[in-house]
């Protein structure tokens, strides 16, 4: 069983754990993800690998504590064994030389953009990183990103750190200054949609990573389906990296909302209309 070697608290509810997993550390490629099950009987969490060290057989993952499963994973102490980690799954990305690459991420998704920034700068691109978060305490990985990128722009929505504003506004400003060749965005659906629309107007290629809810991660359950080029595909098999211009964001929003629905503890969608109708018929 894989063992937790180290644990760090990066921000508000955001934790990083280092896990001993030689098989995965040796075979990890960019863009792939893991399915982590902290205890028997708890949900499986799809997590991107933030960093892998094949010499020490260690991988590190960064996650935000939202639901019961991630809270359970966050509560595991150092030297505890995790029930199961399987993977890596997903299609392998191979970064090419584009020129100037802008990598945009919000909140905890900065953890996913970090290896991408590293890979693109290794492929001899000029990488500009943009990270934004709600407040200062939720902004993570600033020092690591500074090393990985040639230039880093930070913003918070309430202005508690660096500039006030969101990632989209910063990217818009950047377009006036630099000749951008590729935009890579990871974050909430609305932001990715806005960036996709804007880049399409300017004829700039756009890559995105989607975070749909997954039950299995192996292409069995079909809950991670997304619509690309009018075709329904599974993001665990074909993704999670897609072309932003071809993604159907309305469909994606449906899928994402469904996953948010239960996590927030919102009202169940329930069959209230059915009950009303039945009573009315009886009258």
């Amino acid at each position: 069983m894989p063992k937790i070697v180290n644990k760090l608290i990066l921000g508000k509810n955001i934790k990083r754990i280092d896990i001993e997993a030689p098989q995965i550390a040796a075979n990890f490629h960019l863009g792939q993800f893991l399915m982590v099950c902290p205890e028997k009987g708890s949900e499986w969490i799809p997590l991107a690998i933030a960093d892998a060290d094949p010499r020490r057989n260690i991988i590190s993952v960064i996650f935000k504590e939202k639901g019961p499963a991630t809270r359970c994973l966050g509560a595991l102490p150092i030297h505890e064994e995790i029930f199961s980690i399987s993977g890596p799954f997903g299609r392998i990305n191979s970064p090419k030389q584009f020129g100037v690459v802008v990598c945009v991420a919000t909140d905890v998704y900065a953890a996913q953009i970090l290896p991408i920034c590293k890979a693109y700068s290794r492929a001899e691109n000029k990488v500009i990183g943009i990270i934004s978060a709600k407040t200062k305490t939720e902004l993570i990985l600033e020092p690591q990103m500074r090393i990985a990128c040639h230039k880093l722009l930070l913003s918070t929505e309430d202005g508690s750190y660096q500039r006030r504003g969101n990632a989209f506004g910063m990217l818009k400003k950047l377009f006036d200054e630099e000749n951008v060749n590729l935009v890579y965005s990871i974050g909430d659906t609305e932001m990715m949609r806005e960036i996709a629309v804007m880049t399409k107007e300017r004829n700039i290629p756009n890559l995105i990573q989607v975070q749909t809810m997954m039950v299995c991660g192996r292409g069995i359950c079909g809950s991670c389906r997304v619509k690309v080029k009018q075709q329904v595909v599974l993001s665990c098999e074909e993704g999670p990296e897609f072309d932003g211009h071809q993604m159907d964001f309305d469909y994606l929003k449906h899928r994402m909302e469904r996953s948010c629905h239960h996590q927030e503890g919102a009202e169940p969608m329930a069959g209230a209309p059915w009950i009303f109708k039945r009573f009315m018929e009886e009258d």
Binding site: Q23, W44, S84, S86, R218, H262, W274
Partner: protein, 463 residues
Amino acid sequence: MDFQAFYGRGLKEMKVKFVPTQSLTKRLKNFYEVELGFSKKVAVDEARKFPQSNLPSCQPKCPLGINILEFIRFLREGDVGQAYKKIREQNSLPAICGRLCQAPCEEDFVIGNKKVPIEVRALERFVADYGRPKMFGRERLTCAKKRVAIVGSGPAGLAAAAMLGKDLFCVTVFESLPLLGGVLRYGIPDFRLPESILDAEIDQIRDLGVELKTNVTIGLTPSFEQLFTEGFSVILIAAGRSRPKFSGLPGLDAAGVFYAQELLMALKFFPDVFKKKFNEKLGQKVLIIGTQSAALDCARACRRLGKRVEIVFPGTIEDLDVHRNELKYGKEEGVELQPMTKPVGIEVDDSGMIKGVRCKRMDFAEKNGEWVLTPVPDGEVELQADSVVIADKNMVSSLIKRVLPDLKFNKDGTVWIDERTGETSIPRIFAAGDMVVGGEHILDAMVSGKRAAEHISGFLKES
């Protein structure tokens, strides 16, 4: 007009013998096994009633090759251990077959001109539960040098592994999920196959000297070429057909549409979360589309959460692909059936939630001298639903197509194999299970796995 009563009348009379079950009120509140199985006295009595004649019509045939008359002869004398040994000669998963088998042996059993309903399945289950040796040591002493890798630990993979293990080959089974069993683990709920039984059966296969590895996805890490370089002389792919087929039914992108695997998987792997989450997500009324046994499983699982459930399918009740006992239990538990109804589209309201499902009533009409199912004019109805579960046929995972581009497929989506040698279009790679058969029964997959094992042992002994 009550369509259900109308079409239900003409069906063949189903005589079901008494198999003790949990009481109805109890079983709707838990997920434990429904059938309790025979006691020894009843089982031996049943076996004594069993006609022992040499007429060819009285020889129940098992696709797996179990000598049914022989094991029942042992059971008549009360020798359960011997009966168990007799079954295990041919079938390496008797407790699972005794619960999930489609039981074709029960159907064509005729004395004179009368069909006799017999309970071979329940007897096999009794023998498997009671006859299993308490102490099961390692049977294997020697080991051949030739190594076989089996991809997938579903019914086909396990059956093949047991056969090859008995032939003293060095077998390794790779499973992608953290728990063994494939579809037996994630696709069949606890009230049909308890997890402890599955674990016990897999333990017996492990005792044959078979190595079982979990959390390994062949194709990603390691790849098929790596397996060959590691020293495996033959690979058997028994990965099944797990990927859901996305049909063109309008409204499928609504928020309350689920696939059967998602529900069953969540129920198996995280039951507490399932009960909480899906209780909210499914709403009050669930509509299930499909004729597979997964459809009935989903329906019964939803009934246990207190939902109103309807299964919609275009054929007659006889088209439902389930064992008669399961159908009976489902009906008792309050699953409503809507036969001769074809779903046309899912109605979605402004907020993206499901309102209902538009359906067309079907009926038989004569066309060129044949009776064909055709939609009734003006027979359109809208069935109310809060969520829709689709339990359709599946297809082969696209990962295999991506990793092995040279693999040849038939037109119906199954993997092509050479009838004589059992090999696929790639040398030294064999295939078995649902990928090859294309059926949805566990029995078919096991038969295919056994046949593939015979092919492989022949291939390895020659080379």
